[in-house]
């Protein structure tokens, strides 16, 4: 008996050590971005010191970043927020409407249509850059916000997630609203949507992060005034001389707000991933 307790004590110790180690490894780069953005480049890139505490060079670094002619970083944050927000609203609306149709109605070709949409989940759809590029130029949408909002608004993950969640809404609820004289659209937005708040929040989080991270296609279709954050930061790295202090400010500014949002929404995010990936 004594032997077992000791062995399980060792086991607990190993488990904790592992979790702590991983948590530290995760945190270090994040903490370090914050510290580095407040230090002059020669300090955080020096091989003779270990910068652990913030300095006072943040505003200096920030001013240098703002003085860049090729990239307006603050504008790019605005672009990203605007694009990701409009995209998220549009996509949540489209996906939940379509999910509603698949969950609560019968119609011809329902199954084949749904499985066709699902099949595109396996394809790396971000790769359709070339035809989308040609399409955007034909539609005259080059260098417009719509060029990166429209292509993934019909999101297969979103429709799957919404359909799964809509199925759990009892039909009796819908019927009684109909008996009270609600139109089908009223049933949708007055009865169904309000019962799915957490699923909608989950989907919104996933879609927002997805758009926030898009890099390849924005890089191809946008010009400097419309740059999103990833493209703007990439311009800083691609330049002849790399100004690491400015890069750290830019990276810090783009990471921190989304972390706060993530901390706030993470319980939905977790549910969203789980709901979209595993169930049924």
């Amino acid at each position: 008996m004594h032997e077992t307790t000791r062995r399980s004590g060792v086991w607990k110790f190993v488990t904790y050590a592992f979790i702590l180690l991983m948590a530290v490894v995760t945190i270090v780069p994040l903490y370090w971005v914050l510290v580095a953005s407040t230090l002059p480049e020669e300090v955080f890139l020096s091989s003779t010191s270990l910068p652990l505490f913030p300095g006072d060079a943040f505003f200096e670094n920030f001013r240098a970043l703002q003085a860049r002619e090729s990239v307006n970083f603050i504008r790019s944050i605005g672009n990203s927020v605007l694009i990701a927000s409009v995209y998220t609203l549009l996509s949540v609306l489209l996906c939940s409407m379509a999910g509603f149709a698949f969950a609560k109605y019968e119609f011809r070709f329902k199954e084949p249509i749904f499985y066709t949409i699902l099949a595109t989940l396996v394809l790396p759809i971000q790769l359709l850059v070339i035809p989308l590029f040609l399409l955007m130029s034909q539609l005259g949408l080059m260098n417009s916000y719509w060029a990166i909002i429209l292509p993934w608004a019909a999101n297969p993950v979103g429709i799957f997630l919404m359909r799964q969640n809509m199925k759990s809404v009892p039909d009796t609820l819908l019927e009684s609203a109909r008996m009270d004289g609600a139109t089908e659209f009223q049933v949708f937005y007055k009865v169904v949507l309000p019962t799915l708040k957490s699923a909608l929040a989950a989907l919104a989080t996933i879609l927002f992060l997805f758009q926030w991270n898009l890099f390849l296609f924005p890089l191809v279709v946008l010009e400097s005034d419309k740059y999103t954050i990833p493209v703007a930061i990439n311009q800083l790295v691609g330049a002849q001389r790399v100004y690491y202090d400015q890069i750290m400010v830019a990276a810090g500014l783009s990471i921190i707000p989304i972390f706060l949002l993530f901390l706030f929404l993470q319980q939905y995010f977790v549910k969203g991933i789980i709901g979209g990936s595993i169930k049924e």
């Binding site: 979790i19 948590a23 091989s47 379509a98 429709i159 009796t172 890089l219 690491y244």
Partner: protein, 331 residues
């Protein structure tokens, strides 16, 4: 499957529904299509059509006017507007045959497969270990740890890659820390092998927590009575893992492996950011990076379409094989 299953519906409701059907004007039969059509229009135009259009383009020589390794993409786009569809020349399977002797394509393929074979097992292993550890009932502050470890998934792709670029500088934090334990500066970004290692560690840092969350959810769905039964049979910790956890977790593990594989083949932001700041491009180039370069810097859109299709074929085949090997019909 096609018939709806409604065991809970009371007779009263069923009767009302029949009434309703008689009352509803026939035009309301189109209601589901009204809800579906906005999604379906965008899906057809921006997803379904491009999938086939890429295949079509891959049989043509289709090159932009700008010969352009020097030109910035902005200039290239303006020039592109002058190019019409009439510039297509049908070349049959030429683009695909050319791939066979394209050494840069082979290099890109090698790099991608290398990253896949090293990164995916390490990451899935770590994610599984973390999920098991955070599923243990004696661990406190599980929610806090889970949030911390999942945090990187929200970091902007390019921003985090840039941070890794700076961390792995010759005079960066990593080499400084290694210097403390007497390991001399490693050329993380200058050497082909080490820059692949840098990319692998960056990708692992970002996605391990995400996969952990999915696995954790899978673990929580394993029925408790299976463990109780195993304990009664005197199973050791390892036996419980081997004979209960692993089989129960198989569909979820499969999902994680498939999505991670697809993710590796889509790698772009990390190699672009990290290689541009260091090692010669060819030694770390990934397939998507090569497609980007072929299409939007060299402006060989037909050839790039063929590359895209080869990649789509590889990814779909791999996913299907993995799903088949996973052996569960419900995955």
């Amino acid at each position: 499957m096609s018939q709806r299953h409604e065991p809970n519906l009371s007779d009263r409701i069923r009767y009302r529904r029949k009434q309703l059907r008689e009352v509803l004007p026939s035009s309301d039969r189109g209601v589901p299509y009204l809800f579906l059509s906005p999604f379906f229009v965008l899906f057809s135009v921006f997803l379904a059509f491009p999938i086939f259009y890429t295949l079509y383009l891959s049989f043509f020589r289709f090159e932009g006017v700008s010969n352009s390794t020097i030109l910035w993409i902005e200039t290239a786009i303006f020039d592109y507007r002058l190019v019409g569809i009439s510039d297509l020349t049908f070349v049959g399977l030429d683009n695909y045959l050319r791939l066979l002797s394209d050494s840069l394509f082979h290099q890109a393929m090698y790099n991608t497969v290398f990253i896949l074979l090293v990164q995916v097992p390490i990451m899935v292993g770590l994610a599984l270990a973390l999920a098991l550890a955070l599923n243990a009932s004696f661990v406190r502050f599980r929610g806090v740890f889970r949030t911390i470890i999942a945090l990187p998934v929200s970091a902007n792709l390019v921003a985090y890659a840039t941070v890794f670029l700076v961390l792995f500088q010759e005079t960066g934090l990593i080499n400084y820390a290694l210097g403390l334990v007497g390991i001399g500066p490693i050329p993380w970004l200058q050497d082909a092998f080490w820059s692949r290692f840098t990319i692998v560690s960056a990708v692992t840092w970002r996605w391990t927590g995400y996969n952990m969350i999915i696995l954790l959810a899978g673990l929580q769905n394993v029925p408790k009575h299976l463990y109780e039964a195993a304990e009664i049979d005197g199973a050791t910790r390892f036996e419980k893992f081997r004979y209960v956890t692993l089989p129960q977790l198989r569909p979820v593990l499969l999902f994680v492996v498939v999505t991670s594989t697809i993710g590796t083949f889509k790698l772009f932001a990390e190699p672009v950011t990290i290689s541009q700041g260091g090692a010669p491009l060819e030694s770390t180039i990934t397939i998507v990076q090569y497609i980007y370069q072929t299409a939007f810097i060299d402006f060989r859109l037909g050839y790039a379409s063929a590359l895209t299709y080869v990649l789509i074929a590889i990814v779909s085949t791999l996913s299907l094989i993995q799903i088949r090997l996973g052996g569960t019909s419900d995955a």
